[in-house]
Amino acid sequence: MSRDSQKWYDKPVSKLILITIALTWIFPIFGFVLSSFRPGESIKRTTWWDALFTGEIWSELTLQNYSEIFFADGLDRSFYNSFAVTIPSTIIPITIAAFAAYAFAFMDFKGKNILFLFVVASMIIPLQMSLVPLLQLFKSGAEVFGIRIIPALDLNGTFVATWFAHTGFGLPLATFLLRDFMMGLPKSVIESAKIDGASNFTTFFKLVLPLSVAGIAAFATFQFLWVYNDFLVANVFLGIYRPENLVVTSHVSQLAVGQFGEAWHLRTSGAIISMIVPLIVFFSLQRFFVRGLVGGAVKG
């Protein structure tokens, strides 16, 4: 929407500023994308802008880098690993949070306020606070007053460790957001369903869940991108030293810190492959994504 009463000199100036900013923002990606299509030797021999000015770039464009990084360097494995980490890490917290949000929004029970305060308070905890003890918990279990509650599980390096870690870190926010969303649903509909004799389980699955799709999608998009783009949790719980445990982000980080020498043709193409999924999600679900981001402003 544009305002009508604009002064004539304003628009070119604001356009100029915007175009400058947009070009500045695009520029880093541009050279990077271009280089990903050039053979490794050419990247090192001539700079991409020189190649562009002389026109030499058009004859050397190739998809070789992509097939090399994906099939020979094992990025395909990291790619599948990323999905094995991300999909359950999105579904588990959302399911648990949706149940809890339903109870907080529509049911009466003892200690409701205190429990909700507990959920909200745990949003304050930054991920770094729980990282190391959680790692120890997964490795050697936990004891309370000498009684072993959780045995030594030795989970680190398995996907299940990352699922639980992401569940813990994502749950408070998910519960909080979904409760907010469900509070906005028409209460009379849910009450009339209960009067008709529907159990809480039925009301939840048949009525509240379909009505909350927008809220769930917003958080799901947020959590999916967050987990997919996460490097810290993957680094800690899966490790970066065993190639079969790499996810896309840790794989690209290994490329970028120079584990494989000066392989810019692999660094560029690898990083770009890692960006494809988030970009697809971002462009197709932009509406939900922005909403999830704004809601996620307080994720601990």
């Binding site: 544009s2 915007l18 923002w25 050279g31 905890i125 190391v132 749950l171 408070p172 939840f204 810190v257």
Partner: protein
């Protein structure tokens, strides 16, 4: 007769209570624990047993569906209870797993971190405030804290300012608003690791005879000096102009520069002057790493601000314009006050994000050369120096910085709701 009935009912409630207590511990305490353990053990064994490709497929399927077993199992136990108490048990069943998981995976570890911060490097014996003394006296830690402050001040300020400008200006366009916002917002979808890789390509340094493929050094070595033609390993006027020619500027390893002392113009400065001594000490690598984060998050700020600006009623904007206020005046006295709370929200978000910045440093410099931040330092202490106590202390420091901010946000949010 009536009295007798009452006694029977009372007895019944007593027995009921016992039964309900049994059912609720079973369904709310023991079952979730068993569920957690069985999923963990099942998957750990699968990791050993089946091939990698199958593991991914099975992992996605099991990981996504196992959670429903938890609720159906609990529901089964609760359906054994009598009708009257089922409602309250069901409520607990709906909430229980959320509380259980937050408690086990977030709350308990966080408390343990506080406890560990008073322990020695193995986390086995109490050593008082030693770790905290270390945190505020160790030179490496002091540099880390300094960097964290620089990051907080500059990243948050720049993200807010550029975000406001883009949000404000794009709102006034007739065409192309969505395009400009998308372009600036794009980096938000990219992982910080990817963004760091992109910028490392720009900052790239290679030892002199090699072509400078990073654009900053590429331009730097191609600058002609006093009539002498320089170039980046190119043949110009029949001469091969190589990188490292002593008449030309040398390339610089930008991410290795902890201060400005390697730049030629600084070497002629009078260092006794206080202003110059500040200039010399500007940490170039830290600034270049901050650029990555600004690049990533400005779009987020712009999109949120633009939504805030759109929410301003047209009458208010028009009233300002009719009164003859200039565009800039409208911006400073109408738009900014109107979206003040949005600015606070975005600012808060950025402060928390900067305090937890990890990937950029890790990929950019690995925290070396005085670029470290708290989140990286925390992991370094744990995995590199094997000091659990100190690692926990750094984590507590992050928490202490984040705590008031989020507390304030939640309090404000509750006020707006009520």
């Amino acid at each position: 007769m009536r009295y007798y009935k009452l006694v029977v009912m009372k007895e019944k409630t007593q027995r009921q209570k016992l039964l309900n207590f049994g059912i609720s511990t079973l369904s709310l305490g023991i079952f979730p624990l068993i569920w957690f353990l069985s999923q963990a053990i099942l998957f750990r064994e699968l990791t050993e047993l089946i091939s990698r490709n199958w593991l991914v497929v099975v992992g996605i399927i099991i990981g996504s569906t196992f959670i429903f077993l938890l609720f159906y199992g609990m529901n089964f136990f609760i359906s054994l209870a009598d009708r009257d108490s089922r409602e309250s048990l069901e409520a607990k069943m709906f909430v229980g797993p959320s509380i259980f998981m937050i408690g086990l995976f977030l709350f308990y570890p966080a408390l343990r971190t506080i406890y560990l911060s008073f322990q020695d490097r193995y986390g086995t014996s109490y050593n008082g405030f030693d770790n905290y003394m270390w945190a505020f006296s160790d030179p490496e830690m002091l540099v880390t804290i300094r960097n964290q402050i620089i990051w907080l001040v500059f990243v948050v300020t720049f993200v807010l300012i550029i975000g406001l400008v883009v949000g404000w200006l794009s709102d006034r366009l007739n065409k192309g608003e969505a395009f400009f916002k998308s372009v600036v917002f794009l980096p938000m979808a990219i992982s910080a690791v990817g963004a760091s890789a992109i910028f490392k390509f720009i900052y790239e340094y290679r030892p002199p005879p090699l072509t400078q493929i990073g654009i900053i050094n590429g331009i730097r070595v191609s600058v002609d000096r006093e009539g002498y033609v320089c170039a980046n390993n190119k043949i110009i006027e029949g001469v091969n102009r190589v990188v490292g020619d002593e008449n030309c500027l040398p390339p610089i390893g930008w991410l290795q520069q902890r201060d400005m002392s390697n730049l030629p113009f600084v070497q002629n400065l009078d260092l006794d002057n206080w202003f110059n001594s500040i200039i010399v000490n500007i940490p170039i690598n830290t600034i270049l790493l901050m650029v990555i984060m600004i690049w990533m998050f400005t779009g987020f700020a712009a999109v949120v601000f633009s939504a805030g600006i759109k929410a301003i009623p047209n009458e208010i904007m028009e009233a300002g314009q009719i009164d003859g206020a200039s565009e800039l005046r409208v911006f400073t006295s109408i738009i900014i006050p109107y979206i003040k709370s949005t600015i606070v929200v975005v600012g808060t978000y950025m402060v928390v994000t900067v305090l937890k910045a990890f990937d950029i440093i890790y990929v950019g410099t690995r925290g070396d050369l005085e670029t470290n931040l708290l989140a990286v330092k925390m992991l370094d202490e744990f995995s590199k120096y094997r000091n659990i106590g100190r690692s926990a202390t750094v984590a507590v420091l992050i928490f202490v910085c984040v705590f008031p901010i989020i507390w304030f946000t939640i309090k404000r949010e509750r006020e707006t709701i009520s």
